[in-house]
């Protein structure tokens, strides 16, 4: 088999026309950008409301319910902020770097993500669970027993689902990091 044959085989693939017209791509691009801006705006507003609420409420009354709620929201905000920053860093490199530089950049990026996953994420996750646990005595006092049990079950289930999603994502990223740092390819 010769080099010419390699090219001939490749050319046997059918020619592909764009799946969407360009206007559709522009629309999707605008939606993506708008969603990013909305996400950041929602997060900033949440943080603003939390700070205002703290200034208004804390001098008079600090209870475990408010502290727990704060801890839960703060954990989520920190984790979401890290995700937005990660995505921004990854896309920025994608647009500005050549292939060789980007591959090196990806190695550094996923090493950084590994530190996030093993240090910051467990802290956020622990903070979220601890915050949630602070709410349960209040739920028990304020709600019926049936609804209290429902809150315990749904809370535990949602934590389990979040844990599975996080573990899957971490595993995927670690496999990817391994594949780009330690390539033992059979060919070339």
């Amino acid at each position: 088999m010769e080099n010419k044959t390699i090219n001939q085989i490749w050319e046997q693939q059918p020619s592909t026309l764009p799946q969407f017209p360009s206007r559709e791509i522009i629309k999707k691009a605008a939606t993506q950008r708008r969603n990013q801006k909305t996400g950041i705006a929602v997060m900033c507003i949440t943080v603003g409301i939390l700070i205002l609420y703290a200034i208004w409420q804390f001098p008079d009354e600090i209870n475990m319910f408010i502290a727990g709620l704060f801890l839960m929201i703060a954990s989520l905000v920190v984790r979401i902020a890290i995700e937005i920053a990660s995505n921004w860093r990854k896309v920025s490199g994608m647009v500005h770097l050549d292939g060789k530089q980007y591959l090196d950049y990806l190695k550094r990026f996923y090493h950084w993500r590994k530190r996030i996953h093993f240090i910051i994420t467990p802290l956020c996750f622990g903070g979220y669970i601890f915050g949630l646990l602070q709410l349960f005595p209040y739920f028990k006092r304020e709600f019926s027993e049936g609804f209290y049990i429902y809150l315990i079950v749904s809370g535990s289930l949602s934590i389990a689902v979040i844990a599975v999603i996080i573990i899957n994502q971490v595993r995927k990223e670690l496999v990817f990091l391994k594949s780009i740092t330690n390539q033992k390819a059979r060919v070339s």
Binding site: M1, S22, L97
Partner: protein, 163 residues
């Protein structure tokens, strides 16, 4: 970049970008479509980042290659559609000349290459000039020429002996 410029570039480069991505993900058509789409979304959203110090196609190939390099989703099993006309013409051919099988085998061999080498050979197969491949990937022209010669040798060996 105006909408008209984007449309013209999109229509001109989409087939090459799609096939480049398709080869990179070993024939996973859904993923290749997603990567191609992401490439052009980034081209439109970051059009102001293009300084004009290279050809626009080089900048777009660079984004496409980087999209491929950075994708971490698992590839789905290969399900390749071959032009029926080609299949009809190959009815009498023996198994080794079957286009679908050959291309699947090709994807398999390319998938065994190192990440950067995969992009080098895929760009070469799309007949992108070597100078442009070098600029896109950040290597010298000479280095790309040497790599290509080694990759082609390895590919031929893989396709002939299956490894």
């Amino acid at each position: 970049m105006t909408e008209a410029e984007f449309t013209s570039t999109y229509n001109r480069l989409y087939p090459k970008i799609y096939r480049l991505c398709l080869g990179y993900v070993a024939g996973d058509e859904a993923m290749a479509r997603e990567l191609s789409q992401q490439t052009f979304i980034k081209v439109w959203n970051h059009g102001s980042s293009f300084k004009g110090d290279s050809d626009i196609s080089t900048w777009i190939y660079r984004i496409a290659v980087n999209c491929c390099l950075g994708q971490i989703k698992k590839k789905r099993p290969l399900k390749l559609e071959i032009d029926p006309a080609i299949m009809d013409n190959s009815e009498d051919a023996n198994e080794e000349e079957n286009p679908a099988k050959n291309i699947q085998q090709r994807y398999g061999c390319i998938d065994q290459l190192k990440t950067i080498n995969k992009t080098v050979i895929l760009m070469e197969l799309e007949q992108i000039p070597q100078e442009e491949i070098a600029t896109t990937l950040g290597y010298s022209h000479g280095s790309i020429r040497t790599r290509l010669s080694r990759i082609r040798e390895a590919l031929l060996k893989c396709m002939t002996h299956g490894k």
